[in-house]
């Protein structure tokens, strides 16, 4: 079994095995540093995940390289990937400019239907900008960030959300028969990633929190208290396709609970060029018709 995995299926008898290695908190990645606290079980069986990927490939197949269009997707693997489930109290201080609208009547000169210069009035909405500084406090819960170096946080975010109401206390029984990855990012790295996510969420929340008809946040500083990052295994179907003469890797991730798909489908430059030429040809053809050359 690879060092970064702690659960797999026996190739001889198909039995699921879980390895309990010694705790090695110093060298995370070489041993299981932290036992997972929670697991989210798979809710989508392999057949359904494969069908979703087939459908996803079909949507983008027109411009995809032929090796991908004809690829077989029978090699999907269900993997429990580690993620940190972060919660904390987030305190923010902000400075903002708040726009308060008001209406005023202004006079202007215009030309009437007979070409004469006339003076008229109209009501216009103007904005008065005021400064506002204040605080925001929230209990940030359920921020989920990757704990695995092989999976970027953007990739994990692309297949979120996971249904946390199905959360279970970790038990090796749940991952038996599946592949399960160890955490290869430290808890501190996880907390850094989560803080970034929470700060962005607070920034978005401020838009609905601040008064006024319009608002511009000029500064936002967030500090975190009582931080906890607990390790959770999340269910992901992974399809790794090697394609083309250079054996490039296409990795498709499927949320094992919801079926949400993430993957960067490569484009064939030849097909893209053909498509552009085709569109140009059609445009030229219609242009000639409109200009009367064929009439």
């Amino acid at each position: 079994m690879p060092r970064h995995r702690f659960a797999a299926v026996c190739p001889f008898c198909a039995s699921g095995s879980v390895i309990d290695r010694a705790v090695d908190r110093e060298t995370i990645g070489s041993g299981r540093a932290i036992e997972p606290n929670y697991v989210l079980g798979f809710a989508i069986p392999r057949e359904q995940a494969e069908a979703s990927v087939r459908e996803w490939l079909a949507k983008g197949r027109l411009l995809a390289p032929s090796e991908i269009r004809h690829a077989k997707i029978s090699s999907m693997e269900g993997v429990y990937l580690p993620a940190y489930l972060y919660s904390a109290v987030a305190r923010s201080e902000y400075s903002a400019r708040i726009g308060e609208n008001y209406t005023t009547t202004e006079t202007y000169v215009t030309t009437d239907s007979k070409g004469r210069m006339v003076t008229r009035t109209r009501t216009v909405v103007k904005t008065e900008w005021r400064n506002l500084s204040g605080k925001h406090v929230t209990q940030a819960a359920d921020a989920l960030v990757t704990a695995c170096r092989g999976l970027t946080n953007a990739e994990l975010a692309a297949i979120e959300p996971f249904d946390l109401s199905a959360i279970r206390r970790y038990s090796s029984a749940l991952v038996t028969g599946w592949s399960a990855e160890e955490a290869t990012r430290t808890q501190a790295e996880g907390i850094d990633l989560a803080q970034e996510e929470v700060q962005q969420a607070v920034g978005r929340e401020l838009d609905g929190y601040l008064p006024g008809d319009s608002r511009q946040v000029s500064s936002l500083t967030t500090t975190f208290e009582d931080q906890v990052a607990e390790l959770m295994l999340v269910p992901v179907w992974v399809l790794a396709l090697r394609w083309g003469p250079e054996k490039k890797l296409l990795r498709v991730l499927v949320n094992g609970q919801t079926g949400e798909i993430q993957g960067d489908l490569p484009r064939s430059f030849g097909r893209l060029a053909l498509l552009v030429l085709g569109i140009l040809a059609v445009l030229v053809f219609f242009g000639l018709i409109v200009s009367g050359m064929f009439l």
Partner: protein, 325 residues
């Protein structure tokens, strides 16, 4: 009472049986699961039923033996249906409820039919217990709002501040049968009402039976709804107690909650169907306070027409005088 194990280490909210994480701040409940040190060994899980190796089954969403299909149990969040644990007793009986309706109909102002109090007939009168959450909590609240204080060219000026709020025996309705206007009118009448471990008996209020509306929510939904309700209460508190000025708008609140204690209670109400001129109307009367009545009422179109006609006549007379002068 709901069984609680201990309080959350971070926000002091009681943890209930079946919780894996705190309902308010999401802190995990600590376990004393020690990892083995030193040895490396492989563990193959075997089915308790037949001894075969087992694996998690995505279809069953459980650990299932491939040979005998026995499912193994695992610790997971228990998300039970909410249940009423305490009842507030009826202090308004059937006769008092009918009298309360008559009194209420008799003081509804000029635009209501004058004979409404005497002609109204009660079609149906049902005592009912409706479900609600009663909670206590401490909240640290930051707020931002517009008010007229300090306004210049615009009618509004922005303000911000922070405050601490203590919520004590605050009620949030869980009824699906009563509409928000009805529950809003009723909830204030239950302040200070004691709770019993048994409902009031039907005989005590002079009827054959008392209907019980049950909670129609699981615990996870209930908590999300309750937190939403607490935020709404905090917003109302800030609007009336914190924002300076006489006119307020766009109140935003953010909060940190501590020590959220929740009780699942049933509150007493009389639901009446009454008839006036062949039209049926509904009214609700608090089971604790006969002055707590709410319902839709008929309008007297004759009186409304009289007022509108009078106003038109006055306008016409003023216009006539102005044209003569």
């Amino acid at each position: 009472m709901t069984q609680t194990l201990h309080a959350c280490e971070r926000c002091a909210t009681p943890i209930e049986k079946g919780d894996l994480r705190c309902a308010v701040c999401a802190l995990g409940i600590p376990t004393d699961k020690a990892l083995p040190v030193g040895d490396v060994f492989a563990k193959i899980l075997r089915c308790g039923g037949c001894g075969a190796a087992t694996a998690y089954d995505a279809d069953a969403r459980a650990v299932r033996c491939a040979f005998c299909t026995t499912e193994l149990s695992l610790e997971e969040i228990r998300d039970p249906q909410e249940e009423v644990k305490q009842w507030m007793g009826f202090t308004v009986d059937r006769d008092a409820a009918v009298k309360a309706l008559k009194n209420w109909l008799g003081r509804q102002g000029f635009f209501r039919p004058a004979d409404m109090g005497s002609k109204a007939k009660v079609d149906d009168l049902q005592p009912l217990y409706f479900p609600a959450w009663m909670f206590d909590a401490e909240a640290e609240v930051s707020w931002a709002a517009d008010s007229n204080l300090g306004s210049r060219r615009s009618d509004w000026a922005p303000h911000a501040g922070s405050t601490n709020i203590t919520f004590d025996d605050v009620l949030v309705s869980a009824s699906r049968g009563l509409n928000p206007k009805e529950t809003s009118a009723l909830l204030g009448t239950y302040a200070g009402g004691g709770l019993d471990s048994q409902p009031t008996s039907a005989a005590e209020v002079g009827v054959e039976s008392i209907h019980n509306e049950t909670f129609d929510a699981q615990r996870s939904f209930a908590r999300a709804y309750l937190l939403h309700g607490i935020k709404q209460r905090a917003r109302e508190y800030v609007e009336h107690n914190c924002v300076p000025g006489s006119r307020v708008r766009k109140v935003g609140v953010s909060m940190r909650i501590e020590g959220l204690h929740t009780r699942r209670v049933a509150l007493p109400v009389w639901v009446l169907a009454w008839r006036y001129n062949d039209q049926v109307y509904r009214a609700v009367i608090s089971g604790r306070d006969p002055s707590g009545v709410h319902g839709r009422l008929p309008l007297s179109w004759a009186r409304i027409g009289l007022v509108v006609g009078g106003l038109v006549l006055i306008f016409f007379v003023i216009a006539l005088i102005a044209s003569l002068g």
